[in-house]
Subunit: 533 residues, 2 copies
C-alpha cells in the first residue's frame, strides 16, 4: 500500500493520551494509512481510541528534551493530546499525521476501504432521487415531467441526471435556461405541497448581467409553473442590493418587467467565509474557560451564529407561509443555489410536510436536497473550526441546517421521528466518515469516482435495526400539522449538545438522555407485553 | 364584609378580555373582595378567569369616549387587558383593583378566607422544624442541643422558637451572642453532614463595629463547633471590602486574631435593590419584540441575571466543597443573614444531601431554610418585575433560588424528585397565594397573625396524591452521590419555562412536557401491571 511511504514510525509504546472526560492513560500508539489507534492495556482492561486521520483539523507539536507532545484538534471539535517518548518518533508521527490527514485523492479515502461484515457493496445505494420522488407523487404527472437532459452532467455539472420540470418545457429549452442560470442550475421542482398543489422550486441566480440580457425560455419555464391567473414568489437569499451588485459580475435577478407574475422577496442570508468565521468565533467562545458570564454572553453575541440560525429559520418560515398559508408556488435561489437555497428549502419542507419528519423521511430529504442537489460537501467541509489552514471554500452551511433542525426538535419534542443523537452523528459524518455518502461535491464527482459502487451508503446503514433504535425519537407522535417554529431571539438556544459535547456537562446530559431513552423503551415494551396479554 | 366599601361597581357585562395565548373573549367581569372573575358564556362553553387581586403588580387605565381599557400586569408576569364599556364603570373597576390589590392588613388577605372542602384547619401545619430535624438526626445529640431561648421571639425576632446550638453554650451565652449578631441572628446549625459529621451553620454578621468590639461568648460558640485541632470556614457573602465597610455602621466580620481557627472566604453576592433591578431588566428584555438577536443577547447580558445565577451556584458549590470534599464545618453569613445566606445554604444541601431531593425533602428544606429561618417574604415579594411602585424592600432572592434549582434540575434530569412545574408553582405562590405559608416576614409574625391556625399550609397541600403526581419528576432515580453543578457560563441557561411562560413557545414546550409525563406515567402503569401478572 502506498500509504506506507508516509509512515516512518508505525508503532510507539509508552505514549500518554490525554482527552476530555477521561483520565490520562498510557498505552501504544499505531499509525495506519487511515487511522490513529491508541490502545491502553493497563490493568487488564483494554481501552482503544480509533480516530480517522481525516478527522484531524489541525496538529501542533512541541518537542522538549528527548520527548514530545502532539496536540490533535479534530473536526468534531475534540482535542486530544499525545505525550510521545523519543523526539524522532514524535516528529515522525506528527509528519505522518500531517500528510495522511490531508491527502486529496478521493479514491484513497477510507470509505473506499471500509468493508464491515454486515454490509454488502451490492446493497441498494441511497434512499431518494428525483425519479423516485416523481413516481411517488402521482399528482405531479399532470403538469410536470421527468427530464433526463442532464444524464451525462453536461447541462448542469452539479445536478443529478434527472430533474422534475414543467411538462411544457422541452429539453432544448432547458439547455437554454441552463445557460442563463448560474452553474447551469435551471429551475427544478423540489417539493410538491399536496394540500394545495403548490410547489417549491430552486435554481441558481439568473444571468442577465449588466446588459440586462433576457432568456425567453427561462421566462416561459417560470410562466409554466403558475396558472394563468395566479402569481408566484421568488425568495432571493440575498439583499436586493447584493442582487443588484451581482449584475456587475454577470449575475442578477428576475426583473419585474420580464417576470411580471412573480414577486421577489429578498432575505439576506450569510454564507461562505462569513459563516465559517462565525463558527470559528463561536467554537472559540465555547472553549473559553475564563468563567465570566458577561464575557461569554458578549462572545456568543459577537459570533453571530444564533443570528444566522434565526435568519435561516425565519426565511424558511416565510417560504412555508407562502406555500402553505398563502397558497403560492415559490422559486428559491441566492447566487450559486447550492447553499442557503438548500438550507431554507429543506427547513420549509420539515415545517410543512409530515413525511419528512420520520427518520427515513428526514434522511431521504437530506439526500434529495443536499447530496443529490449538489451541495459541495468536499469543499464546504474540508476544514472545521479548529484548523489553522487558510480558508478556501469552507462554510458550515450543513451544520447550520442541523442546528436549525435541532431548534425544531427542541421546540417540538414529539413531532420529529429522529433524535438529537442523529443530528450529532450527521454533524460528524459530513466532515469525516467511513461511508461514501458525503464524498465529493456533486453526483457527477461521486459517479466518476465510483462512490456508489465502491463505498457503503451511510443513510442505508443508519436504517439497520440497531442504528434505527439508537437514532429514533422514543417520544415521536407524528402530526399532520405544520410545525411553525418560534423565531423570536428569546426562543432560540445554543445547541449545547453539539458545541459543548466534549465537556463534563454535555456528557451528564447525554447520559441522562440515554437513561430516559432506555426507560421509555423498557416501559414501551412492558406496556406492549401487558397489552398483548 | 368591609371590602364592599371599595367596590362601587361589582359587575360589568360585555367586557372583552385579551390575554396571552387565547383569542379575545367577551363576557362578564366581577370584582369581589379578593378576586377578579371573568366569565365568558358565549357559544355554550364557559371559560372563566379567576385572578387574585393581590397578583396584580400594576394597573394602567386608558379612557376614550364612553369606554375604557384597563391593562393588568400580574406578579406572575402575565399581562391581561380588559375593554370595559362605560367610562364610569371602567374607573370604578380600576379604583377597586388599585385599592384591593394593595391592602396591607395581613389578616384580611385571602389565605384567611380560603376554605377548600378537601382541607381542614386542624390538619398538621408544615413539614419541618428545628425540633424535628434534631430528633431525626440522632448523631447531633452528642455535641448539640435544642435551645428554646427564643421561645417568645425576644432573643431573635426573625428566628423560630427553637434552634440547634453547641451543647456547651448555655442560653445566657446565646443571649449575649445574639446581641453581637445582626438582627439577633446568633449562629445556629442548619445542616449536619452524615458522611463526615461536619455542619453548616448560619447567622447574621457579627457587630464589632469601628471599635472592633469582641464578644467572648460568640468566639466560644464558634470554638465549640470545631474540635480542638480542627479548623472551620466562614463564607461571607460580601466582598472583603464590603465587610470592612460594614464596620462603619456597626457591623463587620470575624477577625483572624479573635477567631483564629476559622478561615474567612469572601464571595460577593448581589442582593436587595440590585437584584430586583436585574429581574426588572431581564423581564423587560424577555418582552422585547424587536426580533433582533444581537439586541436580545446584549440585553440578557446587561440584565446580569445569569451572572447572579452563576455566582449563587458557584458559592454554593464552594460551601459544599468545604463540607463534603475538604471535611470542614462552615458558618455562612452576609450582613442580615436572611437572603444570600439562605440561598447558598439551601443550594449546598441540595448538592450534598440526597434526602433534600425528594418532593417532600425539598419542600421541608424550603420550610426549614426560608420560611422558618426568617426570609422576609412579605417585604421581598411585595412587588414583582412589572410594578411602577417605588422599590422598597423588594428583592427576588427566592426566585433566584428557584432558578438555580432549575439549573440543577436541567443538569441532573434524574436526580431530583420534583418537576419544573413545582418550581413554577412556587415562583407564583411566593408572591401571591391561597395558602398561608408565604405570609409574613417571620415565624413571629405568622404566629401573631394566627397563620398556622387560620390558614392552610401550601406544602401539606402539595403532598396530596393528585398534586404529588403533578409535581413529581417521573424520571426520578435517587442517587446517593453529590450532584456538582457545572457553573461554567456556557452551561447556564435562561429559565425559559419561567421567564417566557406566557409565550406561545413556552406553551408548546409545556404541552410537550405534559404529554411526555403522561406517556411515562401510562407506560409505568402498563409496566407495573405487566410485572404483576
Amino acid at each position: 500500500m502506498e500509504f506506507s511511504e508516509h509512515i516512518k514510525t508505525a508503532n510507539v509504546a509508552d505514549v500518554v493520551l490525554r482527552q476530555p472526560l477521561h483520565p490520562p492513560s498510557r498505552g501504544t500508539l499505531c499509525i495506519t494509512g487511515h487511522h490513529l489507534l491508541f490502545s491502553d492495556r493497563e490493568e487488564g482492561s483494554t481501552r482503544q481510541v480509533l480516530l480517522l486521520l481525516r478527522n484531524i483539523d489541525a496538529i501542533e507539536k512541541r518537542v522538549s528534551g528527548s520527548s514530545g507532545t502532539i496536540t490533535i484538534k479534530c473536526k468534531d471539535l475534540r482535542v486530544l493530546q499525545l505525550d510521545i517518548p523519543g523526539m524522532e518518533q514524535c516528529l515522525n508521527i506528527a509528519q505522518s499525521i500531517e500528510t495522511l490527514s490531508s491527502l486529496d485523492c478521493a479514491t484513497k479515502m477510507y470509505p473506499f476501504f471500509y468493508r464491515p461484515s454486515e454490509l454488502r457493496l451490492q446493497d441498494q445505494w441511497g434512499l431518494s432521487s428525483p425519479e423516485k420522488y416523481y413516481n411517488q407523487v402521482k399528482e405531479l404527472h399532470v403538469k410536470w415531467r421527468l427530464s433526463t437532459v442532464n444524464r451525462n452532467y453536461s447541462v448542469c455539472p452539479s445536478y443529478p441526471p434527472a430533474a422534475i420540470v414543467p411538462k411544457t418545457i422541452d429539453d432544448d429549452s432547458l439547455k437554454k435556461v441552463a445557460k442563463f442560470r448560474q452553474g447551469g442550475r435551471f429551475p427544478v421542482l423540489c417539493y410538491y405541497h399536496r394540500k394545495n398543489g403548490m410547489v417549491i422550486m430552486r435554481s441558481g441566480q439568473p444571468l442577465p448581467g449588466a446588459n440586462r440580457k433576457r432568456c425567453k425560455e427561462d421566462e416561459d419555464l417560470l410562466k409554466a409553473v403558475i396558472d394563468g391567473s395566479d402569481k408566484g414568489y421568488i425568495i432571493d437569499t440575498r439583499s436586493s442590493q447584493q442582487a443588484m451588485q451581482a449584475r456587475m459580475t454577470g449575475g442578477g435577478f428576475e426583473s419585474k418587467s420580464c417576470y411580471s407574475r412573480w414577486k421577489r422577496l429578498h432575505r439576506q442570508m450569510e454564507r461562505g467565509k462569513a459563516l465559517q468565521e462565525s463558527l470559528i468565533k463561536l467554537v472559540e467562545a465555547c472553549g473559553d474557560e475564563s468563567n465570566n458570564m458577561d464575557r461569554w454572553l458578549s462572545k456568543l453575541e459577537n459570533s453571530k451564529w444564533l443570528s444566522h440560525v434565526q435568519v435561516a429559520l425565519s426565511t424558511a418560515g416565510l417560504l412555508a407561509e407562502c406555500v402553505e398559508r398563502d397558497g403560492h408556488s415559490v422559486l428559491v435561489h441566492g447566487s450559486d443555489g447550492t447553499d442557503s437555497t438548500l438550507l431554507i428549502s429543506t427547513l420549509a419542507q420539515l415545517i410543512m410536510d409530515p413525511c419528512c419528519r420520520s427518520l427515513e423521511g428526514f434522511l431521504a430529504l437530506l439526500e434529495k436536497e443536499w447530496i443529490l442537489a449538489g451541495h459541495p460537501f468536499m469543499q464546504r467541509c474540508a476544514h472545521s473550526a479548529l484548523s489553522h489552514a487558510r480558508l478556501q471554500q469552507e462554510s458550515p452551511v450543513f451544520l447550520l441546517l442541523l442546528d436549525c433542525v435541532w431548534q425544531l426538535l427542541h421546540q417540538f419534542p414529539l413531532a420529529l421521528g429522529f433524535s438529537e443523537a442523529l443530528l450529532l452523528r450527521l454533524a460528524t459524518e459530513a466532515y469525516v466518515s467511513d461511508y461514501g455518502t458525503f464524498l465529493g461535491n456533486s453526483h457527477r464527482e461521486r459517479w466518476a469516482q465510483g462512490v456508489m459502487k465502491k463505498t457503503h451508503c451511510l443513510f442505508q446503514a443508519l436504517l439497520r435495526p440497531n442504528e434505527r433504535e439508537r437514532y429514533s425519537n422514543p417520544l415521536y407522535e407524528p402530526t399532520e400539522l405544520a410545525i411553525w417554529p418560534s423565531v423570536h431571539p428569546q426562543s432560540l438556544q445554543l445547541w449545547r449538545g453539539f458545541f459543548l459535547r466534549w465537556t463534563q456537562q454535555a456528557r451528564q446530559l447525554a447520559e441522562a438522555q440515554e437513561e430516559i431513552r432506555n426507560m421509555v423503551i423498557e416501559w414501551g415494551k412492558a406496556g406492549t407485553q401487558s397489552m398483548n396479554k
